[in-house]
Symmetry: C2
Subunit: 600 residues, 2 copies
């Protein structure tokens, strides 16, 4: 009896797949995949973030991992309809492994698996205390010398890192460290977050005055506590700073402010890190089992070296140090760079009547915020999506289910549409001399973000100022040198300047590892971020996943966490489960540990 | 063609009702009600919280209000199924008035209206900027000298109450003032909240150490920002304090801490209050149009006067001043009173090895927390309710739809059940000499709360200590006098004491009006809280609604707001709409302004 509904076909495939895996019949399981297939696994089969591409890699992964994974109980998620669109059947499903519960998304073409996403929801026996399982709070029943919630919390704050060691130390308390810290707390993993600033959220507060998030609110929710419905679409920096501060407190994180991480050393024998931090002038040695660097995927600033920088008598600032425009009314400013920060800083300076020139050294991708929201994110992250029943969790999983290898194919049509829609805008911009691109393969902003984390501006108004000359533009030239009073360009132009802003971006996160742990470890783990797409600033070979992010690295017990709010939310789930499993002594055989192809 | 489905019948009734009202055919409209009927209106028809009981009151209300209300567009809410249970059809509906959008709940018996709830959702043209309408945050497009979010917020904080007057001043910054402040901010009503403590949440933090909310989390959500799923069932006092502090900041309230309200005077000519406050040692005169007292439905402490209180050499504290047990290990303590605070304080003292005696002067209602949660609140406010699709908003409206007059009939069976379930428990308690009651008419805790706001203990463990004698009990006696070292009872017993705690409750909120504005105004508005049920501490005549709460009073432009977190959340909606309408000059003809029958 053939069930020819989409649901029937998805169920049939899932049943067969489950049976094949239960029988350890890898040939039969692999036979259920298309030739052109992708299986992205987040922690369930591989204890890694890993995409198997093609049948051989699927076979290889299963050969190594199937026995220890011991998956079973594959079933369609009855709450989600099975979709059938353009010949692709899409179905949500649940499953279990020996140690975990999983959730996944399946796409079938011609009755066979085209894409498969398997993700870990929770470790059995270590479920988060949410909903029915939330803590009681009050201590019902009487007992001698009960401590109040406040006393217990104060005791924890006083003892953790002193008389009692954390299992995890997270260096960096931005959204990344905070989201991960919240999940680890829920999982009962003793954690200290080390942050150099005075208050949670300062890494946002201290940036230039006009900064607002470039991603909309629906994309930015932190775990557990979504923004309220009156939250602005694009959070002003101080408001997001306040939210992070509040979140840190409400989630009861052990968050050490005004604390600088000086060094970290891993002892192979004891399998323990020694992390030296300076807290309020006092040196404290922390001895965690796991160390997470959450210092920002764009953490360490890149400052170019030009002749004459030491002679120049005006001010020089990296964009991360720029305080905003107030002090520069009537001054001459040269901003070197043409990405997000450069544009925002130029616009704010113009608004405050500075004489500002943007120096564009190489082409930049520009996309209008409206267009990006509507065409790029709208289906998953928008008020419309929410009203039509899209949850943040579901959106994140759909997003995660698109294999990196073919993601650019999904992205390109969006940017083709944007280019058409905003043709006038782009024409005006190019007429002003601005060098535009849409990425090496015209796949636009999001691929640039994943590949190199730079090279674009989400336009919220500055482009019009460039187009109409309000912000002066010099493009296609570089800096030759600085004189005492000016920036001299490679074409001989001399730009008088009171202030030079280097909006020249940030280096790879393993630079932080070099500073804290040593160049040897930085080299051992290699470059962070990027996919190996063999496009500008993302050299090949192909990696399959983002390098070193949220997954095991070549240095045992060292992890990198970061990215925008979306990634901080989504990937903190999988990183926290990897850490929890290790704390609990659950075997975590890693499949496909990445090799190092680039040092930075 | 008769449509005999429940939905068909509800639709038919609603259509007829809408037609009758549109035609101003009051006879026909009244004819659609049962003899025994209740129409509870929250602000839409009456600009009041008002329950019409019986056809005559419905007729009377419509005669006065129908023309100005001009209701239309009555329609079933298609998202909510119509229920048909035990001969009662229950249906949700929407409607509009000349100035507002409304939402309601209808119960039909024998095809006629038994209960009707009409509530105001929003004022047309003054909708809250939520969801689609949320603010943009970032200021797209460039303009000279734009201010950042932070600068605008700082400017507002500096100017409001100085160069620019608030429309509303709320005295008291507990959950009541905060919830109302949040709603008023969303509605664009300039508001200052005046709070005497140093930090938002201090009114919780400063209470006795072991205090936790006695209501569960599902009942306690504030507007806009619900507690996360990991929030404890019963919030510890410091945790709820921190949440309120965070909420105040996230919601951008103009919250003046460390500010004492000295006096308030209403000027009839200018229709303006002069509110004198002392802020950081400086006297500031605020001139709002509306004054809200949100100083707590149990705000002003009741301290009994006993002979010898001045001679007693130990410590004496009202329960609101009791710091917790730590300093009293090994000491002798007499706690006068037998309600919630008395029990909590006694239990914590026993836990810290004090020798503690509870003096029960009159009978008390006790109900175990588990039983109350399960049988009393579970259907509307519980994890089960959430999972079965119950939202906080819907639960609040169902709750609000039960007319006060017959509410005790709904409550009594619950407590009959509890009495049976916990029979052993109650027997043990009475054996120890504890004087139990279930309210004058056996309707239990919630009616006691609504009628008098006192007279009960939600047992979280102290009752077992009373039953087994760990907490010593003296009951059925009163205090005769205090000696230098003891409390001497009316039966001659002498209780040695190092500390006497007066857990003797709080007075009526209009006591605050007496202090701030004058005894004349306090007498003019009369007693707050209670229903006029003619039961203990709630003298008749019947009022129909809670006296003076969240609705117009006999003193123009003076309002009372307060209650538990549920009431603070729910009724702040209706109070904020009443205030907003007045600010916008929308006519607000009040029907059924309450008369004053008791001064306090």
């Amino acid at each position: 009896m053939l069930d020819v509904t989409a649901e029937g076909r998805a169920k049939h495939l899932l049943d067969e797949f489950g049976e094949a895996l239960a029988d350890r019949d890898i040939d039969r399981a692999v036979g259920l995949f298309q030739e052109d297939c992708y299986w992205r696994d987040l922690v369930t089969f591989t204890w890694n973030l890993y995409t198997a591409e093609g049948k051989d890699q699927v076979r290889d992964m299963l050969s190594q991992q199937l026995d220890t994974t011991d998956p079973y109980g594959w079933a369609l998620d009855g709450r989600e309809p099975v979709a059938d669109e353009d010949g692709v059947i899409t179905a949500w499903f649940t499953f279990e492994t020996a140690v975990a519960r999983g959730y996944g998304l399946l796409r079938l073409k011609d009755g066979l698996i085209w894409t498969l996403l398997t993700t870990m929801s929770e470790l059995k026996g270590h479920e988060e205390p949410l909903g029915y399982e939330r803590p009681l709070g009050a201590k019902h029943g009487a007992a001698k010398n009960q401590k109040s919630w406040k006393e217990e919390r104060e005791e924890e704050l006083a003892n953790l890192g002193r008389t009692r060691q954390p299992y995890v130390v997270i260096v960096g308390g931005g959204q990344g460290g905070i989201a991960l810290g919240a999940r680890l707390r829920q999982l009962g993993v003793p954690t200290i977050i080390v942050e150099q600033n005075e208050r949670p959220g300062d890494s946002w507060r201290r940036r230039y005055k006009s900064l607002c998030l470039h991603d909309p609110v629906w994309y930015d929710h932190l775990p557990y506590l979504p923004f309220p419905p009156n939250w602005p679409v694009f959070s002003p920096k101080d408001k997001i700073g306040d939210w992070l501060e509040m979140y840190t407190k409400v989630m009861e994180l052990n968050y050490w402010t005004a604390t600088t991480c000086k060094s970290a050393q891993f002892d192979e024998d004891s399998q323990t890190w020694t992390v030296i931090v300076e807290r309020d002038g006092e040196e404290v040695a922390l001895r965690p089992k796991q160390l997470v660097l959450a210092t920002g995927m764009s953490g360490k600033k890149n400052v170019p070296q030009f002749d004459g920088m030491d002679r120049f008598r005006g001010e020089q600032q990296h964009s991360s140090e720029h305080p905003g425009p107030d002090a520069y009314t009537g001054k001459k400013v040269v901003v070197i760079g043409s990405n997000n920060s450069a544009h925002d800083i130029c616009a704010a300076l113009w608004e405050h009547d500075a004489d500002v020139t943007m120096l564009q050294r190489s082409s930049t991708h520009v996309v209008k915020s409206d267009s990006l929201m509507e065409l790029g994110l709208g289906a998953l992250y928008s008020e419309e999506a929410v009203r039509s029943g899209m949850t943040t969790q579901k959106a994140d999983l759909i997003f995660a289910s698109l294999p990196y290898r073919i993601m650019s194919q999904f992205q390109k049509p969006i940017y083709d549409q944007i280019r058409e829609r905003d043709a006038d805008f782009y024409e005006r911009l190019e007429k002003a001399g601005f060098m535009l691109d849409f990425g090496d393969d015209d796949s636009g902003l999001f691929m640039k973000y994943l590949r190199r984390g730079s090279g674009y501006y989400i336009d919220v108004g500055a482009s019009e100022l460039v187009a109409d000359g309000s912000i002066k533009l010099k493009s296609g030239v570089d800096v030759d040198h600085l004189s005492e009073t000016s920036v001299v360009l490679s074409d001989g132009t001399e730009l008088e300047a009171d202030l030079v802003v280097y909006a020249t971006g940030y280096g790879s996160m393993n630079g932080w590892a070099a500073d804290l742990i040593g160049q040897d470890v930085a080299d051992k783990v290699g470059k962070c971020w990027g996919l190996g797409s063999d496009t500008k600033k993302d050299p090949g070979p192909w990696e399959g996943e983002q390098r070193n992010m949220w997954k095991p690295t070549q240095q045992e017990a060292l992890w990198f966490h970061g990215g925008n709010l979306h990634q901080s939310r989504h990937y903190s789930q999988f990183l926290s489960l990897q850490l929890k499993a290790r704390m609990e002594g659950i075997p975590t055989p890693v499949h496909g540990l990445q090799e190092v192809h680039h040092l930075s």
